[in-house]
Symmetry: C2
């Protein structure tokens, strides 16, 4: 420590930076030795640290020692190859380093002028992804639309809803507020973030219609059309439909072409949420999941789920950026500048909820260049293969059953013995620390979810998980 | 690169991690050699990189070379000691390393169970800050309230507004939507994020009353009281007041005690936005800025502005966490878990807009432990002293004048020669690359803002800036 200034000098930064890089590399090497789900008790970490801040600065190695001693036991290891819970949040070396560079530069990307490279690299990366996933040309920055990085699919859905709300009301909602007559639609299987967005945006959860699904848990377009028509006849204002490509519960694929036609015929904004599954479109053989995406007014998927790019990095696209910017634009005097006035640049502050923004395109750039399209495809294919293999084992075992189609990397299954044994199975497996699974309810049945997409998950991890599941089930059956 | 898997191995991560740490340390050492405001032209960075992603992976040193060659000229150097624009976003070595650890662990903190340490360290850090800034006890987690890290003061204001909206309507807005009768209040000098939040939340910008300010640009409590009373008599529903401690334009301090009494008497939610200035309360002699904060229902300040913690890190507090959680809570089946059901833990997903969240408490923990309260106070005092020194030079020079009080680290000043010369002065200075200033309008006058709070800004940088300003002005006067 520089005694005079308290600051960490560049040389100290080198020393402790190396130490932390070593710690992270070592963490990657020993990650399988930890229980996947933290075994900590409520209050354990809070209680193990001083209740008050230190008056004087402490040496950096003391902090690192506490990371090992106090923080690590309180970590649920999302990067473990035995993490099969929720959804993936698969990180990678190049992503971590891209984020490190972002922290090191410490720039704000709210305006083009506040760091032109931050805006332009982001635009370019979002354009690269259009090509990589073969997304509609309307999402490319050379068209009337374009892309932006959001922190999450929740925020993307909220931004899409706001753009839809303002389009439907000619900006009257922004000026006069909502009137209780605006309606939104999504399937009964959609992510909770849609309901949250509908509440936040002032539409009200009673004005969100949860459309019935078919036997694959996909939205029924006929029911959507009927609901919109009925609401409009009642004098209400349908403004927003959110379809899902790969639902959180079961990876269900809403039929975009049919839904898109319903929306287009009725002038309703179509948002498509492909948070996890979208990444699959890197591979031509999985691009069918986006069939009909040309109807979408907005779309998002999360490289921070399945594309080796650490959180936060949601790729959000609109087919008409004017609708989005109209909904979210602000320009106080202290943000005015020549570049903005020229109209030649993008100011991403008008594409999101917050004003401030980090340089998140760096990690995406590092990941894409490190892996190349080839490397990314390789891993997506491998994950899908592993999931299909797991599904085949479930099918071949008479004690278990698949509960939903498994088109990609998520397998929903259950023991045939009823809800209670499945709940106990989940508890026993997670307490073991050997793996981490979570559950959902499908067709009113307690269902186990095996989500396969961690960076370092290999066949041996899937085999071990399946062995654990069978052994635990055998014990519980008696 | 591991030829078989495409992944970066732990050893490769060590190698390139060291290289990047070196690059960042070197960047810190040579940062004064770059023009502070990027001189890049629109499209320059986008055009310098390939329009399509690479099919095959590339070596990491090729990426680093492009950082140097293409990204760096497109950077506006927020970490330069000659950056005096907008507001500070001062980073530091320990903050960068805390963020690196967060990326390396790669956990999701949406639920307590998804990484207990992520939630508990965050709660503890927010409690530490209550003590460090001597904030009201109601904001401590041991009370009915508590704190959470938001990405920005914009998001904090939106969350506060939603909590206020739902408290005022008994959750009816969440269910039925807004009715166009809910009203919000802030001063005419408040940050644009308040208007943005009012639009997003469905109240409508026409239902935001911009209350008149006094000669120090602080909100007039009598005008606030009159506006609320008049609106209530008209049958409308005043629900939210946002007061500012240190406005963006001029660092004006709204009188919290008087405003607080107005709000309490009328049952209206008081939010206090101290985004930049709040950090000053680390020093007892500046705590007067929070006088009356006990009236506040919610409060935020940004360690990512003036407390050496890189973006994003806004500390947001509520005096009653139930009001916040009621407004934002969701609990779909796939997020249910025993810890949540027990009621013994905090699930921060219900304290924010998004579901997902990073482990942002680590950087705060690293910063506070590295500097100690003593080190942080030292720097805050130093920044205020430098600003006061600068203000005294302005006052002593007959060609210039102060346009607003400068209680802390922001000095608003102008050349007495009128708007045009000030605009030209700004352009000449920023084009020089030697420093970066931005402007605002105060009392309808074009005003220059000198914001002094970068990590490595010293007296010599302020002296050089003032010399540049005087020289440029002398040239323009002729």
């Amino acid at each position: 420590m520089d005694a005079k200034s308290y600051h960490m000098t560049p040389d100290e930064f080198r020393r402790w930076g190396y130490a932390l890089v070593d710690w992270i590399a070592g963490y990657q090497e020993r990650i399988e030795s930890f229980p996947v789900l933290s075994q900590a008790a409520p209050g354990e970490m809070y209680g193990a640290l001083p209740a008050s801040p230190p008056a004087q600065g402490e040496p950096f190695d003391a902090i690192l020692a506490d990371v090992e001693r106090i923080i690590l036991p309180g970590i649920t290891h999302w990067q473990s190859p035995n993490f099969f819970a929720f959804f993936p949040a698969n990180a990678s070396g190049p992503a971590i380093l891209g984020d490190l560079l972002s922290s090191g530069l410490g720039v704000q990307g709210m305006l083009w002028a506040t760091s032109p490279a931050c805006t332009e690299l982001e635009t370019l990366m979002l354009d690269w992804l259009v090509e990589m996933l073969d997304l509609p040309g309307a999402f490319h920055s050379s068209s009337a639309g374009g892309g932006v990085i959001q922190d999450s699919a929740s925020s993307a859905a909220l931004c899409a809803l706001l753009a839809a709300r303002e389009r439907a009301t000619n900006l009257a909602s922004n000026r006069q507020g909502c009137d209780g007559k605006l309606l939104a639609y999504t399937s009964s299987q959609a992510h909770s973030s849609i309901e949250k967005a509908v509440k936040i945006a002032g539409l009200g959860s009673a004005n969100l219609r949860l459309i019935e699904v078919d036997e694959t848990f996909a939205m029924r377009p006929d029911r959507l059309a009927a609901a919109i028509d009925q609401d409009r006849q009642a004098g209400l204002t349908p403004c927003f439909v959110s379809a899902t490509v790969g639902t959180t519960s079961s990876s269900a694929l809403d039929p975009l072409s049919e839904i898109g036609q319903v929306c287009r015929d009725r002038g309703v904004w179509l948002h498509v949420d492909a948070a996890m599954a979208g990444t699959a479109a890197l591979c031509p053989e999985f691009r069918y999941i986006h069939h009909g995406l040309g109807f979408a007014n907005s779309y998002c998927f999360n490289p921070h789920k399945w594309m080796f790019t650490n959180f936060d990095c949601d790729a959000f696209y609109v087919a008409d950026r004017t609708a989005l910017v109209n909904a979210l634009s602000i320009l106080p005097e202290y943000l005015r500048n020549q570049a903005t006035q020229s109209g030649q640049v993008i100011d991403y502050r008008d594409w999101q909820i917050s004003l401030g923004r980090r340089f998140r395109a760096l990690k995406l750039w590092f990941v894409i260049r490190h892996y190349g399209v080839e490397g990314l495809r390789y891993h997506i294919r491998r994950h899908v293969e592993l999931a299909q293999q797991f599904a085949s084992w479930v099918e071949a075992d008479g004690r278990f059953e698949l509960v939903a189609p498994a088109p990609l990397n998520l397998v929903c299954f259950r023991h045939r013995g009823g809800d209670e044994i499945n709940q106990r199975l989940l508890d026993v497996l997670n307490r073991s620390g050997a793996l981490y699974l979570t559950h959902t309810r499908l067709a009113d049945q307690f269902t186990l979810r095996m989500s396969i997409a961690q960076t370092h998950t290999e066949l041996r991890h899937i085999e071990a998980a399946w062995a654990q599941i069978r052994t635990a089930a055998a014990t519980l059956e008696h």
